[in-house]
Structure formats: structure tokens, C-alpha cells
Symmetry: C2
Subunit: 338 residues, 2 copies
Amino acid sequence: MIISMNLGKDSYDIALERACLAKAGELLDLNRKVMVVTDEGVPSIYSETILRQCGTGFLHRIPGGETSKSLQELERILLHMLENDFTRKDCVVAVGGGVVGDLAGFAASCYMRGIDFYNIPTTVLSQVDSSIGGKTAVNLGGVKNIAGSFYQPKKVLIDPDTLSTLPERQISAGLAEAVKMGLIADPALFALFETADPTAHLDEIIRASLMIKKQIVEQDVQEADVRRALNFGHTIGHGIESVTGLYHGECVALGMIPLCAEDVRTRLVPVLQKLQLPTEVRADRQHVYQAMLHDKKAAGGKLTVVYVESPGSFALCPTDPEDLKESIAMIVKEDPAL
Amino acid sequence: MIISMNLGKDSYDIALERACLAKAGELLDLNRKVMVVTDEGVPSIYSETILRQCGTGFLHRIPGGETSKSLQELERILLHMLENDFTRKDCVVAVGGGVVGDLAGFAASCYMRGIDFYNIPTTVLSQVDSSIGGKTAVNLGGVKNIAGSFYQPKKVLIDPDTLSTLPERQISAGLAEAVKMGLIADPALFALFETADPTAHLDEIIRASLMIKKQIVEQDVQEADVRRALNFGHTIGHGIESVTGLYHGECVALGMIPLCAEDVRTRLVPVLQKLQLPTEVRADRQHVYQAMLHDKKAAGGKLTVVYVESPGSFALCPTDPEDLKESIAMIVKEDPAL
């Protein structure tokens, strides 16, 4: 199926279809120089499948993990294009998860002030969330996504077949973002997590999540307003992510728990447990608190926190960061070893 | 006077007025955190004047010259903002020439995916040309402006009083861009250079140049088409700039000479001489040629060259780079020492 993102002159299509990687050459304009960016954790079969369909393909493989989202890695990609005489008419293709998409998208947005970018997400997290919406970024000074751009892809190809090679833990972490989508905007999607086996309904979950994200991003591309709802679970979640080794989706799972009504929480926790996502974590609460403040650059001011009163609706609440200490305490258990 | 750039939601005003630096606090919203970026070559009085009018001002001074247009210097500015907890609501102000504006604008466009940017150009070159139009950039791998963004300032303040501290050579180099504006779009502006003392008419030259640039940029922000006219003199010029120590404007002056009709050239050369701009240069022609190709990433393809048949009009001509060797020979004299 095709889902159209209606963003004026920046509009683009998302093709959601099993086995669509094999026909990327039909769906995308690859008959030019193409820089395929992927990471070491992505099975090389996916980037090879794309490269075979390129006019003149180049492979840029980055190390796996968040540390690759750096200005240094950005520079290496840009130089790789420069050395091969990429022009404004050439393009960049991301094949991988959120890290690859964020970095490659930023490279495409910078190179000669912007060349075409295609995103081919191969993880649940990137297929349900990060591959669309046009946010690109690198990390800096220990803060996630502090430098980047709003830059829309020309097209997104989502092939759920790629999830067959994904470790279970990564599937669960990605599904946490889909649970989030259900809680803020789609009670039926949330109910599916309660009543069915989510891994048997991946296509449906991806489709429903994309529809929610589409509607929100179309209203507010630059995150001035309603798009901030997508940060549900992320305020405390980013704080936890900074001080633990947990995956992004796992931290979002944790971050949602304190910021919903009691009866929502009673339904949410079993869903997270069913997905084998954490519902509490051992860490130093003060460290989490400080990392959260640093991440949000909220020193002295208020934080806007997303709160879910009932599945399918949300509120943006300006909150004194101090008031979040109790929320943190609900999910972060002090390590007795500290 | 106020010149409005009409670019839809990215519209902004240019205030052109002597002594306007002293009332920047009225003209700009500086009642917040402000990162003032300037360079060592800019008299510190200008940045101090701005800092005095800021809610919470910070000074970031970069080394003078093109080498500061690097991803490394960009990172230092971003970290400087991060360390001081800049939020999306804070801003960046450039005080200086084209290098400062290009780098600070890129930093503003990246930080948290874009915060407000004000440009206060203090050189002729930046006042007549680079401060408006929303091009930001850094250099990479020896190629100028290879990474950057299209990002419009919120406002531009042009105070011709700042030119009183500018060395004569820099004034002349900046005026070369104004000569260019006259040749491609305004015969009266070109005639002014022929008949009058340009340094006695700086306000008029700045105003006329801004009006031309405004009209061109409003038609074609992203340089898909007519905006490429502004590259008149730049194709060979950038090649010369890469292999000599000449100023950007001096290279543009040289680059215009071969790419106009004979009778235009007969008028152009005396104008350049009057401004004490070079009309020929000693360098290795092959080096200039290679640097030009590298800069334009034209390997194998054609270059679009801007050609002026008569003052006030231009043509965009797809050209075989080989055909430019004769043009290069017209202005580049082989160094007998080589």
C-alpha cells in the first residue's frame, strides 16, 4: 500500500509492502550516483539488494549504535560523496534503523545544501516511527539529537520482511513506540496489544502507527505544537537512556508508565510485560533526573510533559521538573550497589 | 530604509540604516540568550555594541579567514550553545563578513534543528551579497560551501558605518560583487561604477545590490534556475581562489572578464582597474582548471556558465569545461618561476 504524506512541496509517499526492497529500482530513482548508508548491525543482504539496483552505487557502512550519530561520522559520509564527485542531482539512501536514517538524512540535507534522500528502514522502531516525519540529527556533548534538520525524504520504502532478521529484543523495543502511538491516538491499536500476539500482527501495527504519525506530522512538521505528543514517554525516557545501556524503545516504555492515569497504567504494564519490555530499572535517580534536565535544556524553566488520561487522547502539561522526581521514583529503583 | 524579502513563511526584513547597530535591541528580539558569533578580524566594538543590548549575551570569536568555515568550528559553536543551555527559543547573531555569516547561519539552522538567526554584516561583500538569500555553509575537503543549508535569517541589519574600519582592499573586493550585480541586472548600477567614485556612493551601491539580489532570490530561493546568475564570475573565480591567496571578490572580478562580450569587457576592465582589483593573475593554468572542475564537481559533465552579452542581462550557458581553458588563459598568466 501507499501512504501519502501531504506536506505541500515537501510531500512524499511511503510504500509499505512485503518484498518491496527487491523492486526499489522501480519505486525510486536510483539511476544516478547513490550513496547507500547502512550500519554493521544490518544484514548486508539488504544494502546489497539496493546496490544492485543503482546506476552507480557506493556503500558507506557505519559502526552500529548511537555513537555513530556524530559530526565526525557525518563528515566521513560527506567526504565519501565529495571524493566520488556527487552532484546536486545524486542521492543518499539509508538502509537500517533510526541511527542510520537520522545520520544519512542529515548528510543528504547538508550536501550541497540538500540532495535527494530515500529512507529504507529495516527495524520495527524505524518502520513505525523514525523513518517518517523528516527529522534528521546527530548527538553532541552527550545530548541526543542536538544538531540536525527538518528534511523530508523523497520516498520511504517499508518492507516488513526485513524484520525477520531482527533480534527479538529489538522488535520489542520498536513495538514500544507503537504502543505509544496507540496510547496517544488510537485505542484500537492499543487494544490489539492487549488482546493479540503483536508479533503476529506486525504489518497491521506498522500501518496503524504510520497513519497516526502521518496525521500528527501533517498538522505540525516542525514540532511547535501537537507533534510534541509523539514525545510521550520520552522526557524521562531520554534521561534513563543517557544513564543506562537500555535501548531507546525500552526507555520509552519505562517513561510512559508514570505519565498516564492509574487505570491506563493498569492496562499498560501488562502490555509491556507481554512484550518483555522493562517496567522498572535499576539506576541512580538523581543521575536520571540530571540527564533528563540536560537533555531537555530546561534549566530554570518548565518542561512540557505529555500525559495520557485515557487511551487515544493526550494532554501537553507544562511541568516543574522537580515534580517529575516522584515519577522517576516510580520506575527507577536505586541500585543497592551504589 | 527597510527592504522586505518576500519568501512566504520565511519572509524577513533587511534594515539598511547608518548607526543601526546602536539600536539593535529595538530592531531585533535580543531579550533572551544570544550567541554572538564574530571573527578576530572584526573590530570588537561591533560585537560589544550588540552584546550590550542582549538579555543574556555570549561571545563566540572564531579565527579570521575561510579555514574557520569547517565542521570543527561548527561543532565548537554548537557546544558553546549547549553548555549554556540554549533552547529552541534562543538565537544566534552573526557580526562580521561572509565567513561569519555562513558559519553562524549554519549553526543556527542545525541547533535543535533550527533556532532564530540574525545577520549583521560588517563588510561590503556581506552587505551587498552574502548576508541575504539564506545560504549557509562550511567548506570540506578543499571545496568551498560543500555542506550547508538554505536557512533564512529572521532579520538582517546593515549599518554602512561599519565599513569605515574596513581595509581598502576588502572594500574593493566586496565592490566586485556589486559590479557583478550591475552587469547581470542593473545597467545604471554598472554605469555608476564607470562615472562616479564608488566609495563615495556606498549606501546607494548597497541598496541597488540588495534590490537585485532580493528580486533574484524571491524568484528562486534554492538556486534551481535564475539564481545561478549570481554565480557570474564565480566558476573560474572559485578555481583561482583555490590556488591563489586572493580574496573572494578579487577572484570574482577576474572570473567575470572572459565571460562577457568584447564591448562589455572593454568597459569592465577599466572599472576593475579603478577599484584596484586585479585584471590578471599569475598562477598555473592547469591547477586553476583542475580546481574549478573539483569545485563544480563537473567531472564528465557540462558546467553552467553565466555569460553577459550586455550590461543588465545574462545567459546561462551549458559549457564543456575544456572550452573554458581559453577563458582561463585570458586572465591567468603562467608564472615564469614554475
